[in-house]
């Protein structure tokens, strides 16, 4: 599976999580890191989409932290 689709899989996994509170934040953080590890292997045309996905996750972390 290429990095773009693997990032989507990881994102889906994070979205599907039933964790809440600090556990939820920890899962989101872990997903951000794992998707981040995929960035160097992503095709150049896919990298922006992958990084924007991570930004969306961090926005969720910000929402959870409110």
């Amino acid at each position: 599976m290429d990095a773009y689709r693997e990032a989507q899989r990881l994102y889906a996994q994070a979205m599907l999580s039933t964790a809440s509170g600090q556990d939820r934040i920890a899962e989101l953080e872990q997903t951000v890191q794992r998707i981040g590890e995929l960035v160097p292997t992503a095709a150049p045309g896919d990298r922006a989409a992958v990084l924007l996905m991570n930004s969306s996750l961090v926005e969720l972390i910000a929402g959870e932290s409110r």
Binding site: M15, V32, V39, G45, R47, A48, A49, S55, I61
Partner: protein, 388 residues
């Protein structure tokens, strides 16, 4: 504070980094015809993240992933190599995307009827609008800021299902709201995020019924109309983030989903219009009653029909309609999930239902109003907002 939310060093005015980001934001505002809400504070974004537009109006942006690779294409005295130009396209796209996000207002999502910022439908709509803006104006903004031949083509779509569905809805819903798709898009973009779905409903009601609707009916009618939009766009999360749906096919799902969503919205609107028009014709000058229960049952039937259409198309976005959970569960067959796709869909459905079911959302409004339990109440989400 969470490590990922911590800001790196401040980027100060006068530096190339600051002036470039400021110029991208200014261009985004110019093309949008709306001001940015960026407060001028800019920080480096740590980690593998493009950046973030914060509630306080500040922004972070990645030096590693955005600023450094973009710079060769935007340095006047330097001629970038073809590989540098190629490497600058994605970072430029990210900067423009983020600049567009700064044009949106977070607003207050705690008032009744508001869409929580960070909910599935809010993220779907905001990302779709930002994605469309970036695709439409990214090339022109880049051209305005550099004389070097920077091509924005060849970038993978960021949110293909959301964007396609939203585009389609602009045409369909714009028609019944008495405005073209671009005017409706402008209306939505200039409305703060928590009130966007209500703004769509209001535009349609105002165009179709004018002052025939008593103010006291407005909140409930908004819910009758925004329900299809919320479910349709929120449900697309399944498609947008599915590992098993090829990016290309996401366009198709977005299109088909939007078609059903628009049908449900327009049919509900037609019933509402008929109710008020008929009353006004037969009882001129007399304040009309609220919609009868029979009509609300019709809306629920329609919601179920929409689900069935999706199921028949192979994407069973099944959730029990509010108030009909027991009947739904009783007729639900055992699900063996013979393959990974169905298993994933089941998991996504379970997730979506757990986050969108009215029965999962604490609501003092419902109890106070005495409305029947089977009326979907929107804007009464549990205190912990966003996606869990």
């Amino acid at each position: 504070m969470n490590e990922l939310l911590q800001r790196g060093p401040e980027i100060l005015p006068g530096s190339w980094k600051y002036e470039w980001v400021a110029s991208v934001v200014a261009k985004a505002a110019e093309y949008a015809g709306r001001p940015s809400h960026w407060n001028g504070k800019l920080y480096e974004q740590p980690g593998p993240v493009s950046g973030l537009y914060h509630r306080d109006g500040s922004m972070t942006i990645s030096r590693e992933h955005v600023l450094d690779p973009a710079r060769p294409a935007f340095t006047p005295e330097q001629t970038a190599t073809s590989s540098e130009l190629s490497a600058a396209a994605g970072p430029t796209k990210m900067a423009i995307f983020q600049a567009r996000l700064s044009l949106s207002e977070f607003g207050d999502d705690t008032v009744p009827g508001a869409t929580p910022v960070g909910s599935l439908e809010d993220l779907a709509l905001e990302n779709a609008l930002a994605d469309r803006f970036t695709n439409r104006y990214g090339g022109r903004i880049a051209e305005d800021l550099t004389e070097q031949p920077l091509s924005m083509l060849g970038q993978s779509p960021s949110f293909p299902a959301y964007t396609t569905a939203t585009d389609r809805l602009m045409y369909s819903v714009g028609g019944v709201a008495g405005m073209g798709p671009e005017k409706l898009r402008d209306l939505i973009e200039s409305t703060e995020r928590p009130q966007r779905f209500n703004a769509i409903a209001d535009a349609a009601l105002d165009h179709q019924l004018g002052d025939l609707v008593p103010d006291s009916h407005r909140d409930q009618l908004r819910q009758d109309l925004t329900g299809p939009l919320r479910r349709g766009l929120g449900g697309l999360t399944m498609t947008e983030y599915s590992e098993l749906t090829h990016p290309g096919s996401k366009y198709g799902w977005g299109e088909r989903s939007a078609e059903r969503t628009a049908d449900e919205f327009i049919e509900n609107l037609a019933d509402i219009v008929d109710h008020y028009d008929s009353w006004a014709e037969q009882n001129p000058g007399v304040e009309p009653p609220e919609l009868p229960d029979s009509l609300r049952e019709k809306f629920l039937d329609r919601e179920e029909q929409t689900q069935q259409v999706w199921a028949d198309a192979g994407w069973p976005a099944q959730q029990p309609v509010a108030g009909r959970e027991q009947a739904y569960n009783e007729r639900l067959p055992e699900q063996p999930y013979p393959n990974a796709r169905q298993q994933e869909i089941a998991k996504l459905q379970q997730f979506l239902w757990s986050h969108t079911a009215p029965s999962q959302q604490g609501s003092t409004t419902v109890d106070a109003s005495g409305r029947p339990d089977n009326v979907r109440q929107i804007g009464t989400r549990k205190p912990e907002r966003g996606v869990e």
